[in-house]
Subunit: 192 residues, 4 copies
C-alpha cells in the first residue's frame, strides 16, 4: 500500500469511517485532514531523499529532530584513497559571483593539498578532516515523515533560509509535490 493510502486508512480509523475508502478517496480525505490541521495523521507517510550538498548545509539540516540521517563520514572516508582518487569534491555555493570564484577555488585546492599531505604524513582521516572546508561536498540520505518534510520545506525553502539550503530544498519540494499531492500543495509557490 502506498504512503497516501496508508495515511487515509490511519485517519479513517480515528473516526471509524474505513468503509468509505474508494480507489481515489485519499486525495480529498488528505485535503480535509490538512484543512483541519490533523497533521499527526500525515505522519504515517514517509519519504527518503538523497541529497548532494556541502557540510555547511548538512550541519543545519541535521537539526531536524523527527528525521533520520545517514551522511558521508569525514571520520571514516579517507579522501586520499581509492574511490576518491585523491580528489576532494567541493560544492560551489550558487550565490558566488564569477569574479570571486577563482579566490574560492584556490582556497578549496589549498585545503585539499594540506589534507592529502597530512594523510601522507600518517595523520588519520578523522584528524586531518579539520582542514577541510565547509564547502566540502556532503552526501546525505534523509528519511522523514511527510508532516516533517512539510515543516522542513516550509522553513528551508523560505526567504530566510541559507541560499544554498534553499536551492537544494526547492528542488526537493518540486519532486515531493508531484509524488505526494496534495500534501505539499500549499507550498507550491516555494518550489523551483
Amino acid at each position: 500500500m502506498d504512503a497516501l493510502r496508508r495515511v487515509e486508512l490511519a485517519g479513517r480509523l480515528c473516526y471509524k469511517s474505513e468503509d468509505r475508502v474508494t480507489s481515489d478517496s485519499y486525495h480529498r480525505f488528505i485535503q480535509m485532514l490538512i484543512q483541519r490541521k490533523h497533521w499527526s495523521v500525515i505522519e504515517h507517510g514517509y519519504m527518503t531523499a538523497h541529497i548532494v550538498t556541502n557540510r555547511g548545509v548538512t550541519h543545519e539540516l541535521v537539526r531536524h529532530r523527527l528525521a533520520s540521517f545517514s551522511q558521508e563520514s569525514t571520520r571514516y572516508c579517507n579522501y586520499a584513497k581509492g574511490r576518491f582518487g585523491g580528489e576532494i569534491a567541493v560544492v560551489c555555493p550558487p550565490e558566488l559571483s564569477n569574479a570571486d570564484l577563482p579566490l574560492w577555488r584556490a582556497s578549496m585546492q589549498e585545503s585539499e593539498k594540506v589534507y592529502l599531505e597530512l594523510i601522507e604524513r600518517g595523520v588519520t582521516p578523522q584528524i586531518a578532516r579539520g582542514v577541510l572546508p565547509n564547502d566540502l561536498k556532503a552526501e546525505i540520505i534523509v528519511t522523514a515523515n511527510l508532516r516533517e518534510w512539510h515543516h522542513i520545506f516550509a522553513l528551508r525553502c523560505g526567504s530566510s533560509a541559507h541560499p544554498h539550503m534553499r536551492h537544494v530544498m526547492r528542488m526537493g519540494l518540486s519532486q515531493a509535490a508531484e509524488l505526494f499531492a496534495p500534501v505539499f500543495d500549499d507550498l507550491i509557490e516555494l518550489s523551483l
Copy 2:
C-alpha cells in the same frame, strides 16, 4: 525499493561503498550494522502496524516518542450510533481467570449501559466517555522506524511488561521478524 535495501544504501553512503551492493547483500550488511551498533542507519526502514487492544495498553504505547499514532477516538466516535450498533466493544485481558470473568463482564455491561443512557440524555460523547472502562477496545495504527520497533519489542515483549501489552507485542514481533530479517533476529526468543 523495499525497506531493507534502503537501509543498506543509506549505510553504504556513510562509507562510500555503494558499489558493493548485490541482489542480496543487504542481509549481511544489516547484520554488520547491528553488530557495530550503527542503529541510526536502521532508522531508514519503516513498519506500520494495525493493533487491536484496549485503552489501558494504548495509554502506555503512545509514550514512545519516535513513532506516529492514529487511534480510534473516544471524543469523536459516538459508540451509541450506527456502525457501533449500540454495542461497545471491550477486550478481555488474557490473564483473567474464568472464575473472575462474569464479574468483569457485568462491569463492562454496566459501563456500557450508563454510557448509552448519558448519550440519550444529550451528553456529548467526549464527556460520556468518562464512564467507559480501561478495557474498552482500542484500535490504533502505529508507524515507526525499525530501530524504534526494535526498542519497542525489546521493552514490551519482556517479562516486566504489562501482560496484555506483552501478548499484543509478541504477536507483532513474530510477524516483524519474518518480514524484516535480520533486524529482529536477536529478539526471536521473545516472540510468540
Copy 3:
C-alpha cells in the same frame, strides 16, 4: 541562573553579543526572539507542572513528544490498600450538568466496587484496573521546555481541545504566563 536569563545567554551566544547582557535585558531580548521566530533558543528554559486530572486527559497529554511524564501508575498502585483507604478518586468532568451527575456518580461507585472485589479475589491491580473508568483521577508530573509548553498551551487551551483538558491547561497557562513573562504573552487571552 534562572530559566529566562539562560535563554538570553544561549541566544546571545549565536550572535556573539554576550557583552550586552544587563540585569533586565532578557525581557526585550526574548520578545525579539519570539518576534523573529527563533523558537529553538526558548528551549533552554524549562518548566515542571504537577497536574491533577483524569486518565482520559492524560492519554491525550502524553502524546506530546518533547516532554517528560511521570504518572500515577494503575499497574503498581493498589487502590484497595493503605494510602488509598479503599476509596478510588475520580475527577468529575467540568461540563457535566447537575441533572446527569447522579448517574455518573453511581457508575463511578459501581466501577470502584467491582475493582475492590476483583482485588479481594486475588486479581492483580494491573489486571483489575481494566474496570476502572476514564474519569479515574490521574496525577501527572510534566516537564517540558518553554517552547514546547507554548505549543501545548496554544493547542490545549483552544476551542477545539477537550473541555476537561482545556480547563486544566488554562489554569496552567495563567501561572506560567506570570512566571515566565514574556514567553506566553501572546496566549494571554486563552488563560483563565
Copy 4:
C-alpha cells in the same frame, strides 16, 4: 527545588509514596530508579552546558534529538568585524603531533586570509563561511535532560568516539558526575 529532588518527587508520584521524602532520600531513591531502569523519571532533571570546541564536533553533537542547541552562527557572525577583530579562532585537535602542527596552522591561516578577503570584496558572511575549516572554533550551549546526558556521555566518552569529542565530553562528565551524583556514577571511569 533542585533537579534531583524534582526527580525524586516525580518518581514517588508514580507509586504514590511522596510521604517517604526526607532531606536526603533522593540519593538512594535515584540509585533504585537507575537499577530498575526507570530512566524516564530521570528526565525531569536538566543540565545546561557551555562547550567550546570546533565545528567538526558540533556537527556530530547536534544529532542528539532530545536536546536543545544554540550555536555561534557562521551565517550571522561576521568574523571580520568588531568583536572578532579579524582574527578567526580555531581549535587545535588534541591528537595532532607537534611535527604536523605547522602545516595545520598554515592551513588555518590561509583559510582565514581568504575569508577576510572575500568579506572585503563584499561577499556575505553566510557565503564566505564556505572556506572556513572544520577546525573553526565553535561555541555551543546544550540543554538536555539527565537521561539524555547519560546517553550522550556513555556514547561520546567511549573509545569509538572522535578523539576531540571524547576530550570535550570527558571534561563535561567529570563536572556532571559531581553535580548530579548518583546519576552518572556508573560512567565515572570514563571521565577525565
